[in-house]
Amino acid sequence: MSIQTPRHIAIYGKGGIGKSTTTSNIAAALAEAGHRVIQVGCDPKSDSTTILRGGAELPTVLDSLRDRARKPKLEDISAVGFWGVLCIEAGGPVPGVGCAGRGISAAVDLLEELRVFETFAPDYVLYDVLGDVVCGGFAVPIRDGIADRAFVVTSSDFMAIFAANNLFKAIDKYAPSGGARLGGIIANSLQLDHARGLIDDFAHRTGTEVVGYVPRSVDVAQAELYGQTVIEAAPYSDQAEIYRKLARRVTGDLETRLPKPLNGPDLKDWARDWGDRIFGAERAAAARSA
């Protein structure tokens, strides 16, 4: 399938939450289904596309902008990965020096200047963004209509939820002036009993929807050790099927919306309630087993 204009999708998530793994598996699933896909890593850590490329080195856009007098070419800043996914890493400045947010803006500007989206003619462009939305630069993919829908990857960890709530605030801010709307929440690394209920409740409170539940799986860890996505390493596994379903969901027809982020005190109260419930359940379980 080839659609006229590419669909730009931003996937946010707190660092270390598994957003790059999720994004790469979605990209792999889309590519496997015959779509042309670009994945742009917008995380100064610049390891977003590693498992699409077998772990090979890829110079980041900012690295190429840093030292060169002339503008880098597309070949300098991209690599073709699994099933032809075009991999690009925005990169970032040396920690503590310069402005990572402005770096992301500069990288996206360069991609537009190089007419990457026209020449490669992708069906889908996935932006994998460090999701705490620490400054305006990190909001670039959801601002000014670069991406038309945004998803947030979260675990049941409170800090990940906090980051998701921050993203909702950013979406709320930019959506009225043409920014992306929220596609939904991707619940990742679900393992504990309460996790699903907690994320569902958060979605309910913020007027959003969970578009996929990804359980914690050894397949993922194993595939990553080989520098691969689950789609590539274990194509027949249940986990691969879960990612394929997720890929269909995030690219399919779905109602995007404006989330209603919780304010600081509400979020704290909500977290405390859940803390009490989980702690109470664990205590009961401990009493039973004693």
């Binding site: 900012l62 400045p93 040396v94 503590g96």
Partner: protein
């Protein structure tokens, strides 16, 4: 204020700091910021609508661009400092940072240390525009320099007094004020440490640490004085603004001599008495013309160095109701106590126009830009300052001569001599030099 500044008075903190650095002989500036920051300060030579203060010399800048914002601008700074030091003979290099450099967090301190470790004289002071108005930049720069310099012994044989709170390039007649105050102190056996202008310089800056006292003439002198108090235990005397008139000047030197335990000798007493007599004689000569004037509602619109002192002088001398509007956005901390005295603050020219309309004043005294606004609102202006960019040539308000200047300007505005108008109409030949200036 809750809205952007519309026609601000003095530019940003960086611009104030630039003026201050430019007034210290021996200090060379490198601005670490985007090109516009330094350029705007220098270019707006007409005191243009964008408000950057005019009249600055050429200034070296690192000209940061997008690339430096993303990756940090220290490489450019290192290069620029190296180049500056290569052509600099003696003196000191001062690195002033603008908004972009401070927002991305360039480690300017580390760059400077590389050079100071090689024995170069370089200091860096954070002076980004977001720290506040131009006067804030003056205070920050001076405090920053004093906090970093190694003290040098004073060469003065008399107690040395630091003059703080007069901002070069920003306060009209700043150099004249420094000169007058220096003479005043000299007359009573003290030595002023001017720092700025031809009598100031690096040596004067270093000697500040060995002064007997810091005299603070406006809220903008507090920060530098506090640095010296904390580092070297130098006592601080806060004056009530500039001493306008012989009485105020005398009161100031008496306070100084008390505080320093430096009694005035017969010679000093004699010189004070002469000043009183000189002023009295002149005032008497115009007393009648002053007395026939109908009382006006007066507003003094000026910086905090001059406004309060001028208002006090006018109220005391004429007995008219006088209010003051401060145009230099003094720090919040000093505004609250001022509010009781009926003093208000204008954040920019638009704000001043509004305050003037509301004040019900019919006479406005102040610097050139305040006077122009007053005139545009149909109020009678009395210009007591230099045009923007010519602050250095402006005459001062302190001491006896300052008071005389104020009265002369007032009488000229309110009771012009009829002959003056006649003479103008007669088209007397204009001397060629004036003709050129007028063109």
């Amino acid at each position: 204020m809750g809205r952007p500044a519309i026609f601000p008075f003095g530019g940003c903190a960086l611009h104030g700091a630039l003026h201050t650095a430019a007034a210290i002989p021996g200090v060379t500036v490198v601005v670490h910021s985007t090109p516009g920051c330094a350029l705007r300060a220098g270019l707006s030579a007409g005191g243009g609508r964008y408000g950057a203060p005019p009249g600055l010399p050429r200034i070296a800048a690192t000209n940061m661009a997008d690339k430096h914002v993303v990756f940090g601008g220290t490489s450019r700074l290192r290069e620029e400092m190296k180049n500056a030091l290569a052509v600099l003979e003696g003196g000191m290099l001062a690195v002033l940072t603008g908004c972009p450099a401070e927002m991305i967090g360039d480690d300017v301190g580390a760059m400077v240390k590389e050079l100071t470790a090689q024995g170069e004289r370089v200091v860096a002071v954070p002076t980004a525009g977001f720290h506040g108005p131009a006067h804030e930049g003056h205070a920050r720069l001076l405090a920053g320099l004093l906090a970093q310099l190694a003290p040098a012994p004073t060469r003065a044989d008399r107690p040395l007094v630091n003059l703080f709170g007069i901002a070069p390039g920003l306060d009209p007649g700043w150099l004249a004020e420094i000169e007058t105050l220096s003479r005043l102190l000299e007359g009573v056996g003290l030595a002023a440490n001017p720092i700025f202008g031809p009598e100031g310089g690096l040596a004067s800056l270093e000697a500040a640490a060995g002064a007997a006292l810091s005299l603070v003439l406006s809220p903008w002198g507090t920060a530098p004085a506090e640095v010296l108090a904390a580092r070297h235990g130098i006592p601080v005397l806060v004056a009530d603004g500039l001493p306008v008139g012989a009485e105020a000047a005398e009161a100031l030197v008496r306070r100084l001599s008390d505080r320093l335990g430096h009694p005035l000798d017969a010679g000093a007493e004699g010189s004070l008495a002469r000043e009183r007599a000189q002023q009295g004689w002149r005032f008497d000569a115009v007393l009648e013309r002053l007395a026939v004037l109908a009382p006006r509602r007066v507003v003094v619109a000026d910086g905090s160095l001059r406004a309060g002192a001028l208002a006090r002088f006018l109220a005391g001398t004429l007995g008219w109701p006088v209010r003051a509007i401060l145009t230099d956005s003094p720090p919040e901390g000093v505004r609250a106590p001022l509010a009781d005295t009926g003093l208000t603050c204008a954040a920019d020219r638009a704000d001043l126009a509004r305050l003037l309309d509301e004040s019900g004043a019919d006479l406005v005294l102040g610097g050139a830009s305040a006077a122009a606004i007053a005139a545009a609102r149909g109020l009678c202006p009395v210009v007591l300052g230099a045009a923007p960019g010519l602050e250095v040539l402006g005459a001062g308000l302190s001491g006896r001569a300052g008071a005389e200047r104020v009265l002369a300007a007032l009488l000229l505005a309110l009771a012009p001599a009829p002959q003056a108008a006649l003479a103008l109409r007669s088209r007397a030949p204009v001397p060629p030099v004036f003709a050129r200036v007028a063109e």
